[in-house]
Structures are given as structure tokens and as C-alpha cells.
Amino acid sequence: MEEKAPEPVTQSGTDPEEQKLIEASQIGDGRAFGRLIRLHQKRLFRFAYGITGSFDQAEDIVQETFVKAYSAIGTFRLGLAFYPWLSTIARNLTYNQIARDERKESLEQMAEGGFDPESTELGPLEKLLSDEAQSRFFGAVMALPSKYRSVFVLRHFEDMDYNEISMYLKVPPGTVDSRLYRARQMLVEQLKDLL
């Protein structure tokens, strides 16, 4: 298994408390890393679940992400935000899943938009959601065709811009635009009474 740390994304606005935790983790403080886990695991889980559509796979990805991060924590450059670095690890782990999901979807489903709000049950995720509105939101997101959902998740959950999404998914920026447009259209239609 490759242990080389991914290049951290340069970001501004790092949290001093988080930096202290990272520094402590780098010198072997397990409790500090435990706090970092608790700070970021929910967001990572949301991303992994959004991409994979599977609760179990999302769990595995989150766990593997932190395992890899822990082993490579010494290479993390202090002064940078921690989540983008974690996210890069998680994205590498989920990338293969994206490619698999897109192959599975039929052309007919894609041509018709393939949107079936009733098609995807949230399952175990339901227990993590606070109210009906949140259930409807995640239900609507998970019902998106995977090509649209992956773009949506990367844009809204991971704050990636169009170029970053384009490079990650290896599709032209115009394709990112059109998929995101369709995803938003579908969600606006499904959630119009809540917006």
C-alpha cells in the first residue's frame, strides 16, 4: 500500500487549534489525532457516502482515509488546512468507485435523466439525519444518476471548482457544467417546497 502523502492543497484561513492538534499528532500524540478524527469524519463520511451511495463503503473509505493520514501525518506541512489533505486521500480512494458506477448506469437511464426519487432508500443513513427535510435532501441527492451526483457532491460537499472537478473526473469543464446544471435542476424540482 502506497504511503506517500498527497500534496496538500494550499488554502488560507487555517484554524490555529487544528494546527496544534496536527503538530501534536506529528509528535505521536494519539489523543490529538483522535480529536482530528472527530473534527473531520462527518464531512468525510458525507463525501464518501455521496460518491459511493453505500453506507458500508463510506465507512470503509473514512476508516482507510484516517489510517493513511495517520501513517503519513509526519509529512503534512503545518500551516495548511487539514481537511483538503484528508479529502485528497479520500478522493483517491473513491475515484475507482466513481468509474465503476458510471459504467454500470445504462444509457437509457442517463437519457431520461434517470431520476427516481423513490429509487434510493437511505437505509442506515436515516439514523444520522436530524429531520424530514434533511432526509428528503439526502434522498434526493442519492436518487440522482451517479454521473450527476458525483459532480454535485464534489461541488457542494467538497467545494471543488469546475477545473478541479474536471481534472478529478477526467471530463471537460463543459461536461462538469452541464452535469451540475442537470443535477441542480433535478434537486430544485424535488425540493422546491422546501427552498
Binding site: 494519539g30 489523543r31 489525532f33 483522535g34 478524527i37 472527530r38 469524519q41 462527518k42 464531512r43 463520511f45 458525507r46 458500508d56 463503503q57 465507512e59 470503509d60 473514512v62 476508516q63 482507510e64 484516517f66 489510517v67 495517520y70 465503476r100 459504467r103 454500470k104 439514523k127 444520522l128 439525519l129 436530524s130 427535510a133 434533511q134 435532501f137 439526502f138 461541488r155 457542494h156 460537499f157 471548482d161 469546475y162 469543464p173 457544467d177 452541464s178 451540475l180 446544471y181 441542480r184 434537486l187 430544485v188 425540493l191 422546491k192 422546501l194 427552498l195
Partner: protein, 427 residues
């Protein structure tokens, strides 16, 4: 520009992701188009709504997952915190050396007084059958320690409070109900009675790798020798599920059940009769394809020859079978009926035998070897492969086989082989 041009760019405009000239063009359009303004507002409202509703809240689930990850990384945090309902027992805290010395002392006393009858006190929990003290070490369960402690009239279980910051464990004795707290003896066990006003409560669950469920152990503790117990103590885990829990993809249930997540269809290759269930390149189901080929074989076997071509074409069209499916079918027939491997291909001075074909589902569906028509079917299979294949070496090898039959007048398929060679244009 028509309206759709702007409509399709509203989403990117909301993200400031358009080139400058397009951004300006959309802005100008928005000034005059209420529909696009409404669409833009909805997209922005969606983004804001996602910021509020898209965040997962706190949950016991996430805390458990964090603990699981910490366990896996070996940075699990477990703290035993005493809850004192009344006055604490005099004696205050024990320092590390006192705790270590008391542990050693009790261990020695337990060994030498193992035959002494244990006197039951009001505070002692129910006695169990005495067990040999040899091999018992620090960290044994409450039951174990009680049974092997010296008969000093005191039944005490003590817990060690680990002050992780100070690094100094405190041994505080108490009379405990049956619990999962690791026990270590204290020197108080040899002297004074323990007040019954102290209880311990775990602030976090004891890591399950240290199990006090010795009754689950395959070793009968009452009959175990010290060496067996020592070996058991040295094990990294007491049970299989302890090992499993350290692996990703394993869930344990409260009723001791273990769920191991299996492979997904996309990750694991399932073989049916040695054939992959999926075509790894095209993703099509091998089984479905083979079933179609099976149908083709049925059609061919029922035909009387004259309308075979017509029926085959009709079947191919209806079943949407590709020519490659038909070729695969005949290859399967050929390979399954071949008694000997295909002719070797000479490469330089060494002769390299072609790889043996792996038996696929297609081959398994091929007609079984039948002494009466095997050679005829094999001959036909080679002919069909020669007609359909584009692999020159394969064509060469099957034609060579047909030629050998054609040149053997004693072979029953001699004339048929000649007819095939004529059909193939081979002289």
C-alpha cells in the same frame, strides 16, 4: 444567442465559473429575463439550503466510528473514572511503585496460598469453584482474582485508575459488582476490610480485546496448566471476533454476532463453472451471453442443414448475438473435444506450446464427448472456427487439423474434411 444558451449557463454563472465574456453576456441577459433570474435564485437558494441541511449532526454512530479507528491505529483512549458516592477510603492514592509492589505481592501470596480456603465476607461476591492460581497474571477478571486471592477474609476487587497525564496509576480498592473492569490487586487486600460505598463506572467501554469472558475460552480454566494459561495470556486476542474487529469491513453485534462485509459485484469476480460472471472488458454478463449461445446451439442442433443458415441468421437477429459469440461457441466446442493440445508453434529453436484454453462456461455447454460423433463434431468445430476467426495462427492450426483428416483415407470424416477445405478455399 437563443434563450437556451443563457439558460444552460445559469448554473455556472452562479458559481462564477464562466469565462469573463460569457459572465458579462449572462449578466446582460439576466437584466431582461425574469425566467432566468428565477432559475438563478433557485440555484442560489439551493446552495444556501445545502449549507444548512447538508451537514450531518453529532451522533453516537460517529463517536463509535472514531473509537473504532483509534483502536485500529492503536491510539484507543480508555479511562476508568471512579464515582465515589460517599467518603473515599482512607489511603488516598497509590503511587506506581506501591501498585506494582502490591500486584507482585498478591501474585506471590496467591501462588503460595492457593490451597487456602477463601473466606467469604459480606462484601465478597458469590464464590466460584477454586481454580489453580498458577499462571494468573495482572489483568485477569474479577472472578479469577477473587477465586485465587488469599484467604484473608477480604474479597476485594480493585481497579486501577490510569491517570494518563501523570502516568501514575492509582490502585483503589473497592467491592465491585460483577463488571468488566480490569482488576489489579492492592495491598489493601491483605489487611483491612473495604468499605462498600465505592463503585466504579467506566467512562468509556473497555477495549474488547481484553475480554473477561473466559468462559468462552476453549481452555477449561479449572483444568488448565500454568503453561496453557500463559500461552493464552500471550495471545493478541482471546477470540476470533477480537481479531476480526481490528479489520476494516467487520461489524460486531451486541449478541456476539459478527458481520463481515463481502465483496461487491464490481470488486469480486464470481466464477460460474470456471467462467467469469462478467466480461471484465465490456461488462456484459458472461452468463447471459453463454445462455444466448446455448440457444444458438439448440437451433443448430435441431436444424436439418438446409435451413440452418436462415434459422441461424434469424436467431442471431432476434437474440442480438454477436458473431464473436458464435465464434466463442465453436471455439468452446473445439477445445472441449480436442483430445490433444493444439499444434505447437515453433519459435526459433525452442518449441513453445500455446497456452491451454481455460474451460469456460461456453466449453462446458459444448456437446459431450461421444465416441460416435465426436470426431465429426470436432471437425465441424474446426471448420467453423476457421470461417469465423480472424486470428491467422488459429486459422492455420485448425486448417492443418482439417488437412490431416482429409489426407487420411481411412478416416470416416475424410470426405467431409475435403468438403470443408474446398469451402475454405484451401487446396
Amino acid at each position: 444567442m437563443d434563450h437556451n444558451y443563457y439558460r444552460e449557463r445559469i448554473s455556472a454563472y452562479a458559481d462564477n465559473a464562466l469565462p469573463p465574456y460569457e459572465q458579462m453576456a449572462v449578466e446582460e441577459h439576466l437584466a431582461t429575463c425574469a425566467e432566468c433570474r428565477a432559475a438563478l435564485e433557485k440555484i442560489r437558494a439551493l446552495s444556501v439550503w445545502i449549507e444548512e441541511k447538508g451537514i450531518l449532526g453529532e451522533s453516537e454512530y460517529f463517536e463509535k466510528q472514531a473509537q473504532k479507528i483509534e483502536e485500529r491505529l492503536g491510539i484507543a483512549q480508555t479511562e476508568v473514572t471512579p464515582i465515589v458516592t460517599k467518603r473515599t477510603w482512607r489511603g488516598v492514592g497509590w503511587k506506581l511503585t506501591a501498585a506494582a509492589a502490591s500486584i507482585a505481592l498478591v501474585g506471590i501470596l496467591a501462588f503460595y496460598t492457593r490451597d487456602t480456603i477463601w473466606q467469604k465476607t459480606d462484601q465478597a461476591p458469590a464464590m466460584q469453584a477454586p481454580r489453580p492460581a498458577e499462571g494468573l497474571k495482572k489483568g485477569d477478571s474479577n472472578e479469577e482474582l477473587r477465586e485465587t486471592s488469599p484467604a484473608t477474609g477480604i474479597s476485594q476487587d480493585s481497579a486501577v485508575k490510569l491517570d494518563q497525564k501523570a502516568g501514575k496509576p492509582e490502585a483503589v480498592s473497592t467491592a465491585l459488582p460483577k463488571s468488566r473492569v480490569q482488576t489489579e490487586s492492592s495491598s489493601a487486600s491483605k489487611a483491612t476490610p473495604v468499605p462498600d460505598n465505592q463503585n466504579y463506572k467506566l467512562s468509556a467501554p473497555v477495549p474488547e480485546t481484553v475480554s473477561d469472558k473466559l468462559e468462552d475460552s476453549p481452555i477449561d480454566e479449572s483444568l488448565a496448566t500454568s503453561s496453557e494459561l500463559e500461552k493464552k495470556e500471550a495471545l493478541p486476542a482471546r477470540r476470533v471476533d477480537d481479531l476480526l474487529r481490528s479489520v476494516a469491513g467487520v461489524k460486531t453485534k451486541s449478541d456476539s454476532g459478527v458481520t463481515i462485509r463481502g465483496g461487491r459485484a464490481g470488486e469480486v469476480e464470481y466464477l460460474v463453472d470456471s467462467a467469469p460472471s462478467k466480461d471484465t472488458i465490456e461488462g456484459a454478463s458472461e452468463i447471459k451471453r453463454v445462455m444466448k449461445v446455448q440457444g444458438l446451439r439448440d437451433v443448430l442442433s435441431k436444424s436439418d442443414g438446409s435451413d440452418t443458415v436462415t434459422k441461424t441468421d434469424e436467431f442471431l437477429e432476434d437474440a442480438k448475438i454477436q458473431p464473436s459469440d458464435v465464434l466463442a461457441y465453436w471455439r468452446g466446442v473445439r477445445d472441449s473435444l480436442a483430445a490433444t493440445p493444439a499444434p505447437s508453434v515453433e519459435m526459433g529453436k525452442s518449441i513453445v506450446a500455446p497456452p491451454q484454453p481455460t474451460k469456460t462456461l461456453v466449453q462446458s455447454l459444448a456437446p459431450k464427448k461421444n465416441g460416435s460423433d465426436r470426431n465429426a463434431k470436432l471437425l465441424e468445430a474446426c471448420y467453423r472456427v476457421a470461417k469465423l476467426s480472424s486470428d491467422t495462427s488459429e486459422i492455420h492450426s485448425v486448417i492443418e487439423y482439417i488437412k490431416r483428416i482429409a489426407e487420411n483415407p481411412s478416416s470416416p470424416e475424410h470426405s467431409q474434411a475435403k468438403a470443408y477445405l474446398d469451402s475454405l478455399g484451401v487446396k
